[in-house]
């Protein structure tokens, strides 16, 4: 669903040059969640913006849904962003003047779907995330956890297949973070989405099928597929 092939990104020139990413390769299949962990400044957010075609790499290729971004026109990339890719940000990025349902329906309306159909799809997405009763509320009437669920509904509405999330649980507490990650996990396992979540939070990353470690703009390591967890429940005897 998403493939980064030897992607590098350099900002600035000469003495001010900053190498944000160096030959990063990463493949994320449909139905899979990958977490990218790394310290501040390791290139996590740059990786996400390049994967989402919000920025272009200096070199290397990004392939989304089988299409190489470098071969696409600007308009085609914008269409891909609207129809295939959903973004979730730490600070939710909801428009304060729109209700939850209107926020969720907005990407579809911007893509030319008529307002009635877009609103029905928005309500359906909110319902899937348990927010049907909050559809008419404005962002400032929602709790932090509800706002983030609205943001996830907006990222998934219209059957988008690639979810890109930057610290999606932000400052949420453990219970709300689990609820958010359960939604992302279900969207991958049941809905066949591919998801990339960048975070410095190991508890959030532990929801992923695979964790990739980034350091100084390079992929330095990644987890192996997690073994069966059941033996953990009988490691020995308590005393």
């Amino acid at each position: 669903m998403l493939e980064l092939q030897d992607v590098s990104k350099v900002y600035g020139e000469g003495a001010a040059e900053v190498q944000a990413l160096t030959e990063v390769s990463l493949a994320v299949n449909a139905g899979t969640m990958v977490a990218v962990m790394g310290p501040s400044g390791s290139g996590k957010s740059t990786l996400l913006t390049i994967a989402g075609s919000l920025e272009e790499p200096t070199s290397g290729e990004v392939v989304v849904d089988g299409q190489a971004l470098s071969a696409m026109s600007r308009a085609a990339r914008a269409r891909l962003r609207r129809r295939v890719i959903g973004y979730v940000f730490q600070d939710f990025n909801l428009l304060p003047g729109l209700t939850a349902a209107e926020n969720v329906a907005l990407p579809l309306e911007l893509d030319g779907t008529n307002a009635r159909k877009a609103r029905a799809a928005g309500l359906e997405a909110l319902d899937r995330l348990g927010l049907a009763e909050r559809a008419g509320q404005y962002p400032d009437q929602l709790s932090g956890g509800e706002r983030q669920r609205v943001a996830i509904a907006r990222a998934m509405v219209g059957g988008r297949r690639l979810l890109l999330a930057d610290e999606p649980s932000g400052a949420l507490d453990t219970v709300n973070r689990d609820a958010i990650m359960r939604l992302v996990h279900d969207a991958c396992k049941r809905g066949g989405m591919a998801a990339v979540v960048v975070t410095h939070d190991a508890q959030l990353a532990s929801w992923a099928d695979r964790v990739v470690f980034l350091r100084d703009g390079r992929v330095t390591d990644q987890t192996a597929p997690a073994p069966d967890p059941q033996p953990l429940l009988a490691p020995g005897q308590a005393s």
């Binding site: 453990t174 508890q203 990353a205 192996a224 069966d228 059941q230 308590a238």
Partner: protein, 207 residues
């Protein structure tokens, strides 16, 4: 490495799981048999801390010796029933409200490994920290999978798994901080103003 960690973590579990007081807690609900206590202990911790029945009876014998529980007169058999005494109830109430002694930093094996790695020539400390980080994240993935599969239905399990996830998370955070500090090197800032500290400060954490 996996086996080694398990041995270390098991030791850690043992130091924290107070079966003695957990059994008193279960007996405070009413008289119970040994097997019943084993099953209820495991269920209440989401089966994260399994117990063998021999340990249960050994602990019950000690509790009885100390006057904290008493049993009916039936001979040693699985049908022997235990009940908490007034002294046992007092002990349980006292234990619940007494914080565990965490004042002395444990001799953490991982901290020692990193401190040793820093002194050894030719050792890439980041490579050492990353190996531990990867192992810990994989372990957290397994615990999260257990939590995810249960879906929050078993509250005891959710709490026990959360405790484990927070513990592993704190170790990873320490590794992150260690990496950042090692990368930065010793502070080059001017010497901080040192205020005379009371002598006992030196003993904090040493006991």
């Amino acid at each position: 490495m996996y086996t080694q960690y398990h041995v270390e973590y098991e030791t850690w579990y043992r130091s924290l799981v107070s079966v003695r007081h957990a059994l008193l807690g279960l007996l405070s609900e009413g008289p119970k048999y040994g097997l019943q206590l084993r099953d209820e202990f495991e269920a209440s911790t989401g089966d994260v801390w399994p117990l063998n029945v021999g340990q249960v009876y050994m602990t019950l014998q000690r509790l009885e010796r100390d006057g904290l529980v008493e049993s009916d007169d039936a001979a040693d058999s699985p049908q022997k029933s235990f009940r908490i005494t007034t002294e046992g109830e007092r002990e349980l109430a006292e234990w619940l409200r007494t914080p565990p002694d965490l004042s002395a930093p444990p001799r953490d094996g991982l901290v020692i490994k990193i401190l040793v790695a820093m002194r050894l020539p030719g050792v890439d400390v980041h490579d050492v920290t990353q190996r531990h980080r990867r192992y810990l994240v994989q372990l957290m993935q397994q615990w999260t999978q257990i939590k995810e599969e249960d879906g929050g239905r078993d509250l005891g399990l959710a709490l026990a798994v959360d405790a484990e996830l927070f513990r592993l998370d704190s170790v990873i955070r320490w590794l992150d901080a260690a990496d950042a500090r090692i990368k930065r090197g010793p502070a080059q800032d001017p010497e901080p103003v040192r205020l005379p500290l009371p002598r006992r400060r030196r003993h904090i954490g040493v006991n």
